[in-house]
Symmetry: D2
Subunit: 362 residues, 4 copies
């Protein structure tokens, strides 16, 4: 893949660590933490991917069990192994699906062997170490932060292309930022409230009162009121976008999350107080321009249901001015496990290895 | 029903208090429109009510079918009849569960016979005829508006006690207003965004793409963006509350509704920009004071799931200051068909007939 | 309650240990194991029951937490305690909601204090100790078996009335036996296959792959093929019914269970090979006669959905001859947690204390 | 595709009308009736199929609307047209997704133009005209029956390969027959009861009480007791299989269907009385041998949940002897819309056009 090599070269001078170009044949990829929902889906997508070779799936539990026994629908006929980088052979890339704090050491070990990493945890999403430590405690690998690129593909495609570490966004930030980016970039966001809802898969392979069908079913459950960890991630990225439009003030986002009784699906409703009056015609132009060339963002003319994008890498965005209140409402729908997590990881891998961005995702 | 006029008289002297006790025997009640979800549940609650006599259930369709055949779970063994006020005999009260515009003429006919009415439609909810006609078109019975009291029991108990027409609130206004009232009454609401979600029963006995399990299931569906009819109802009531605290400016509410895949349950998230900084301690006091004596509003210390109040007349309210954004988040959970509609109608009937407010609802 | 005393007297000669009549006032009842679904619902029903006094709820976990915190909808404002029969004061009765083997010792301790017990476990359901031990291992209290009455109210009402221990049936046997009893009693059952389905609440407050919404949802899950523990319970009771009609041969039931993605509801489809040709007219007579006086069994003319009986103590039974195959199909629908478990326990308590059988259950 | 031409030749002598080999390039396919669930999914699968060209989607309603507006998830960007065979150009094949009786005339018109047809209706499933007319009334095109092959791929692959009309099986027969075929072919089926359950998508794009989420949710609904139209289809095919083993007696199947609250998934439980005692070891051999070379039938060692095969063309089969009753239990799980309908149609098209059988289905 000469283009990747080139990218790696041009990038070497000014960026984080040079990415490794893969040898002839398909890039060899590992999924670490394949027993959880995110890792299992990443393994599924990579297994059926025409261009990557999934060489191993590892887990911190269920070792020895086959992944297609644990997740029959995903049909990945590999045995779950313990992570052993010596045994796994040469690696071009890895998806790390560990909880925060556990991820960073695994990422470091993979980087030591020159594998490029898409990390699904929160460990490398925040550029600011101080912000990270306020929310998550001590960072296990602060030195690697400089090497990480925020993996919302649509916002950082170029940097992702030759990043050593791609910090895959949280599902809430993915939906929220794709909804807000066109307004933020235009300097129009003065204030924003985000009310997000997602299916129970968002709670992961966790067995407790939030996931038991007789408790989660027939329920709408708001959680983490005024304390959601996704806020700083959204704010930091919004700040970058707004700064490009000249804004220097800080924006305090109010974000509220909910679980609703379905499996996969997520909707972020963004209520934006704009810096000046915005009409529907301007919104239409702004969003069309922002996403005209994006393969996975669809600006739609009617409120999107999450079912419309279930099991796809698409994000559907709908923006409308509310003449009555003067605010703008932006609705952004994704599949929390796909574009919100695992298929975006594959989208990023495609970008990182200079493959067609939609390869394996259509 | 001379008793209503009398009540108005006797009551005038000292305020809410003495509602008229009904004559010997139980008040005779009719449910008009019992084939829909709201009317059927009202019939169920009145049928099992120890103090009311449900004398007839009527429908504009399904005439001749038994209600317990249409709704087996509700176990009301009455035949659905066509509405015929001559045939039904003396009536003390009626619940009218018709669509807007169809309701007003039925209410008028019932008032002509002195039956007191709880109307579940939007026809009498707005005091302002102009506002009504902006949203719904020509009002069929504008003369009756003066006789109507807004039936959010907790806000208008005294007036409900001897009203001829009680305009039962919409489910969204019920949840929203119970969440916002303490803040509004204290003059603290400068701006509010309401994001509300409810189960599919909110779409009623409607057979289409919004209710088909294979379309409504696994979906989160936002609807009526920037055009929801419940907005004026919320605004008018909020204005009354704020005016009591001296506010004279108008408040433009931004309200957004969603359907989520469950049957009964509703959550309103109210994002309030306050007129001054408010801390949790003040919120705790404010809400405790507002609802200490309310039998059906519970101020809770953790975010309420809608399942907690399913098939009850309770509203659970949770308020929290978000230090980060400076806003206040109020969550209000109800069962959209119970407190949001039919059990609140019974609560109002209890008040109207001077019965213990929780009678038949515990 | 003189009638209970009388019953106890008449029974003393020929039955298990005499039941204790309760003193003036309401019988004092304890629920042991109130943290699980069955115990919590039993506590709810007894708390709102007009004639019993729920004196304590105990748990083997969650001690100190309030039951209405664990199960908000049930609204039982009691603290979960450790089981301490010395501390709890005089008891007239108890519902024991423990797993099998753990239940028997608790039942024994309660019997030592003359409390009458409804046991929800399998420990006392089988009259045959040998059968019990084949399925469950060593019985902890074999001596108490003689004192136990099988608590399918409709089959053993008289014996339940003065039993010391009522072994509340499993939910599957409840639905199956109510469906089959009229045929069995008439000597018409030559062979039977039972295919039963129930909601996820049937798995109880268990947190694992069978209850996680993202695994249990969108799934139909058959389990325990050719090994279900409810088989002997069904067979033993069927044998009693068939023996009354002169049958002496043994009947081997094939029973198959499934979990389907709803909360509460259970349907048993019984496919009966009859001893002779049976037509619909005879079935209609047979079932009408069998259940004409039963307050909680409804013979219906159309296939019953489980939703029709959700959150009720009713069982709906539908029987139809299949002219094509010559077999009879009997469908029996209950709420697995209500008639299948906890409301049947209350029905039994009503019978045991000579209260109207539907008290607290309507 | 010379092999198809060859097949057509070898077949011409002894079978129905010769099938048309398609010209250079991809076979051109039409989906008639693409507005329903089955047709829409067939269109989706053909649209993304690497070897077929989907040239048009037609509907008897929704004409002019885009299919990806009606079914966003399927992403087929074609406009729904009225069926006009003159306008559509040359066709190699068509999938007809019409109701029975409406399908046959469309099939006839397509055959007139030499298009090969996979018909999803019941019109050509029964070889016996008499049986068809007993269940469905007058057959609109009895002359075409001779040309039709029953499209359960695993049973009739060779005949399907060059059939002019493939009668795609019903979803219930698909699951049932794949479960029973190995036993039937070995002459082991003496009697069988089938209890089948499927998700709400099985009711199709029908808007009524069986599909409304507030009625279908939290429900298990048995339907068509002792009268299910799928019985003769199952019986006719079973008879063919049993006859091969020498059985000449007729078998009367008892089949019972249920709707359960999920979207896509179907389980058939087959309770088989065998002609002689059968043990697990023999079952294991029998099923392994039957399906060893089948790409889409998986013999599994644990009871299959329908979720395991959701949105796949796989059928999972599990067979177990019940030593207690002497019967054999066979569980067969499919996705009712995929292997039960539309993906099996594509599997058949692959066979008809000599493509790899799994093409477009993996």
């Amino acid at each position: 893949m000469s283009c990747v090599a080139e990218l790696a070269t041009t990038r070497a001078a000014d960026g984080p660590a040079p990415a490794q170009a893969f040898a002839a044949g398909s890039p060899r990829v590992l999924v670490a933490g394949a027993t959880g929902f995110a890792g299992a889906l990443a393994a599924h997508l990579l297994w059926r991917h025409p261009r990557f070779e999934l060489v191993a799936v590892t887990g911190r539990s269920e070792v020895g069990r086959r992944l297609d026994d644990l997740y029959p629908r995903y049909r990945v006929p590999l045995q779950i192994e313990q992570l052993d980088l010596d045994a796994v052979g040469p690696l071009d890339a890895a998806v790390v699906a560990y909880p925060h704090a556990a991820a960073a050491p695994a990422v470091a070990a993979l980087r030591d062997r020159d594998a490029r990493v898409v990390d699904l945890s929160a460990d490398f999403r925040l550029a600011s170490l101080a912000t990270y430590e306020r929310w998550y405690g001590r960072h296990p690998q602060p030195a690697l932060l400089a090497e990480a690129v925020y993996g919302l593909t649509e916002l950082h495609r170029a940097a992702i292309a030759d990043a050593g570490i791609v910090a895959n966004p949280g599902c809430y930030p993915t939906a929220s930022l794709l909804g807000l980016a066109p307004l933020a970039r235009a300097g129009l966001v003065a204030d924003v409230v985000i009310d997000a809802k997602q299916g129970i898969s968002g709670a992961g392979r966790t067995f407790d009162e939030t996931t038991h069908q007789s408790m989660a079913g027939e329920n709408i459950l708001p959680y983490k009121v005024a304390e959601h960890r996704h806020t700083p991630e959204i704010e930091e990225q919004l700040q970058l976008l707004r700064a490009a439009a000249g804004a220097s003030d800080e924006l305090a986002v109010l974000f509220q999350a909910h679980l609703v009784p379905l499996d996969q699906g997520e909707l972020a409703d963004c209520y934006v107080t704009t810096t000046r009056r915005v009409e529907d015609a301007e919104l239409a132009e702004l969003y069309a321009a922002a996403y005209a060339d994006e393969p996975f963002v669809e600006v739609v003319g009617a409120p999107p249901g999450t079912r419309d994008v279930q099991e796809t890498n698409y994000c559907r965005v709908f923006a409308k001015a509310d003449a009555h209140s003067g605010k703008v409402v932006v609705l952004s729908a994704i599949d929390n496990l796909w574009k919100g997590t695992s298929s975006q990881a594959v989208q990023n891998l495609n970008v990182m290895f200079a493959l067609p961005e939609a390869e394996g995702l259509a």
